[in-house]
């Protein structure tokens, strides 16, 4: 199951950090962030609760990049 979310992030390195971080969150099989389109594509692990996983992704991303935003 793949989903795409709109994000706000203002530097390319920060987008890279968000991607790295999102990939460490449980329930995320693969996350890709495109700085250019300001989108995050998340492939969820089998049976994961999307809402809950994304809340954790947002929290984790806020930690590495305090002024980022993910539209859930």
């Amino acid at each position: 199951m793949k989903k795409t979310y709109s994000i706000y992030v203002d530097c390319a390195n920060c987008a890279q950090k968000m991607e790295d971080t999102a990939n460490t969150v449980e329930g995320v099989e693969k996350a890709t962030v495109s700085f250019m389109t300001q989108k995050m594509q998340v492939k969820f692990a089998e049976g994961a609760d999307h809402e809950e996983v994304m809340q954790n992704v947002l929290k984790a991303c806020k930690k590495v990049e305090s002024d980022c935003e993910i539209e859930l």
């Binding site: 795409t4 203002d10 530097c11 390319a12 390195n13 920060c14 890279q16 950090k17 991607e19 790295d20 890709t32 495109s34 700085f35 250019m36 389109t37 300001q38 989108k39 594509q41 930690k63 590495v64 990049e65 305090s66 002024d67």
Partner: protein, 628 residues
């Protein structure tokens, strides 16, 4: 400029003005130095407060190697060492650079996005009283009649039930010539209706329509990252911490060593050099410019009707060495056309064609289609009184009271008619009237007019081998290969043989890094498309299977788009390499100069912000595809 940018600009201006005032005050007045130290904090805080806050939050979250942290340490360090003008100026320039970057990136993002501005927002449906209502195209079931006014974009794929018009397909194909359409024609979403009112019965849902599929594909293309992008991401992960530790080493080891050797204790100089290190260490120039280059390349390609499904494919395409073509529908038009008419003595060319068209009138064979199309006027069907198809042979018909035979050589043999053999390539239709041979017509699949030109362009652009695969007979394949200047051909292949051929060819690359592309029309060649390193689907407008299976989709049938795509890919990769070498080169140079004390913070700001701006401007060049 957006709100954030406008606010940033105001802060930059306010800080610059107050800094200038302070510098003048310092020159003309005799106020004590401690007062100036405090006063210099005003412009510093105006322009840099958010950086400080972010650095603080970063420390709380153990993200010490982020940019904000580095800038904070460097500028505060500089001010503690008494270089307060430099401290403020570095922060100011850093923010100006960030602002510029944000504007430049925003601009290029928008200009790329505008290439893809083909999403229709609404569809018109006609109410019972004849008035039009705008509705969300997503809500319409298949089979709805929608109305498209001149100037509007067709929102959903469908078939015209009423009206004639010309369509502008340039957003999809890059082709500027309008396409004439009439009722009964299939139309695809994304085209702009130019002249007349059209009523269209939808044949797909909005989400399944061409325009939605294309947008989906383009939007997701930057998710498939190129090797170069992954390399830089990894590089950045190690680079910043390494430079930070190096800075720490520069700040401590040399002064310690010099001090112990009795050259005096000079920590200030070395700490300042270490701080300069920190300013240089930001990897942003690399991290931003490379995805931007690929994004620009993909955007520029899509403006030319070339859809690239991912940065990785664009990167691979730059190494294209072998291009394999399917013949029918790719190198040829894929429809049969009359290429020669040879009437027997005493027979008129036009009359011969007319008779053939009448005889073949009810046949659904592709040969019959070709003959009917070649006939300029609609034949008078009342001339036919009886028609019978003899499977595998041809047609037996009564026309104007004469017995007409139209078919292959076997048909002539069957009726014992002496005929003049025609040795043309293609399918030959022999005709006889009342058992008298009256001539022959050659029907063949003709090569696309620009195919030879496209192949020449490929050879001129470093493609060292071109191969044609076809199920056609040896003679036809050989003639086509010769005419096009193709290096190698394989004829009489079954669909499964094509995959085997591709595998063989994959093993015959000059270098393992060379890329083999297969170009097909997407019909029946999905397995081959996916087996090749890069599958290119031609003329894929409306063909879902091809869009799914291919890595690069050419929206129209134009073969010259293949060398163009290769050129765009090469230009993009060249720019990526330039940026990598330039950015890493300048940074390393500045780092080395800094160790020897030959730089100051101004250099450092250039190495960070200046390099980034130059790299971004260079990356934006990928968008320009007129001269590649």
């Amino acid at each position: 400029m957006n709100k954030r940018q406008t606010k940033m600009l105001k802060r930059v201006i306010a800080a610059t003005v107050s800094l200038v005032i302070l510098i003048i005050l310092e020159r003309v007045t005799e106020l004590p130095e401690w007062l100036f130290r405090i006063l210099f904090l005003i412009p510093y805080l105006i322009v840099g407060y958010d950086v400080l806050i972010k650095a603080y939050k970063g420390i709380l979250n153990r993200q010490v190697f982020d940019e904000a942290f580095l800038m904070t340490v460097a500028t505060i360090g500089a001010m503690i060492l008494g270089e307060y003008l430099e401290g403020v100026a570095v922060m100011l320039f850093y923010q100006i650079g960030e602002l510029f970057q944000s504007i430049a990136v925003g601009r290029s993002r928008r200009s790329i996005a505008s290439l893809m501005e083909i999403r229709p927002d609404y569809a018109n449906i006609e109410n019972e009283d004849g008035s039009l209502e705008q509705v969300d195209p997503d809500d319409l079931p298949v089979g709805t009649i929608i109305v498209v006014k001149p100037g509007e974009r067709i929102p959903i794929d469908g078939v015209i039930v009423d009206g004639t018009s010309s369509l502008n397909t340039s957003a999809l194909t890059g082709e500027s010539l309008p396409k004439e359409v009439d009722s009964g024609d299939d139309v695809i979403s994304g085209c702009v209706n130019i002249s007349g009112l059209l009523k269209i019965r939808t044949t797909k849902e909005f989400g399944e329509s061409t325009v939605s599929k294309i947008l989906d594909l383009v939007e997701n293309s930057s998710m498939k990252k190129a090797r170069a992008e992954n390399f830089i991401a990894k590089f950045a992960r190690y680079y910043t911490p390494i430079v930070c530790y190096a800075a720490l080493a520069v700040g401590i080891l040399p002064p310690l060593a010099l001090g112990l050797l009795g050259h005096g204790w000079d920590f200030a100089t070395w700490v300042f050099r270490a701080l300069t290190f920190l300013v240089i260490s930001c990897p942003c120039a690399l991290v931003i410019s490379i995805p931007l280059s690929f994004f620009g390349g993909i955007g520029g390609a899509s403006r030319n009707g070339i859809l690239v499904k991912g940065s990785n494919y664009l990167e691979a395409l730059a190494d294209a060495g072998i291009i394999v073509f399917d013949k029918t529908g790719t190198l040829t038009k894929g429809v049969l056309e009359v290429t020669d008419i040879v009437p027997a003595e005493g027979m008129d060319k036009d009359e011969l064609l007319h008779l053939a068209a009448l005889a073949e009138n009810y046949s659904t064979h592709p040969v019959a289609d070709g003959i009917r199309k070649a006939c300029s006027d609609t034949p008078d069907l009342s001339r036919i009184t009886d028609i019978e198809e003899i499977a595998g042979h041809g047609i037996h018909a009564q026309i104007d009271g004469h017995r007409i035979l139209a078919g292959n050589a076997k048909l002539m043999d069957r009726y014992g008619i002496p005929y003049i053999k025609n040795n043309d390539l293609g399918t030959i239709v022999y005709l006889a009237r009342d058992d008298q041979f009256i001539g022959s017509i050659t029907v063949s699949d003709v090569l696309k007019p620009n195919a030879a030109k496209a192949l020449k362009a490929m050879h001129d652009n470093g493609i060292y081998k071109t191969v044609m695969l076809t199920g056609d007979a040896e003679a036809a394949a050989s003639a086509a290969a010769k005419e096009l200047g193709i290096d190698e051909y394989h004829a009489e292949l079954l669909p499964a043989d094509k995959v085997t051929m591709i595998e063989q060819l994959l093993g015959r690359k000059k270098k393992p890094t060379d890329v083999l592309c297969f170009a097909g029309d997407g019909i029946n060649d999905a397995p081959v498309l996916s087996r090749a390193d890069i599958g290119i689907a031609m003329g894929a407008l409306g063909s879902d299977a091809a869009i799914e299976a291919a890595d690069i989709v050419l929206m129209d049938d134009d073969l010259t788009k293949i060398p163009l795509a290769v050129k765009i890919a090469r230009k993009c990769l060249r720019i990526v390499r330039e940026n990598v070498v330039f950015a890493i080169g300048v940074k390393i140079l500045c780092l080395i100069l800094t160790v020897f004390g030959m730089t100051n913070m101004w250099w450092a700001v250039f190495a960070d912000v200046g390099v980034m701006i130059i790299a971004v401007l260079n990356a934006v060049r990928t968008l320009r595809t007129e001269k590649v």
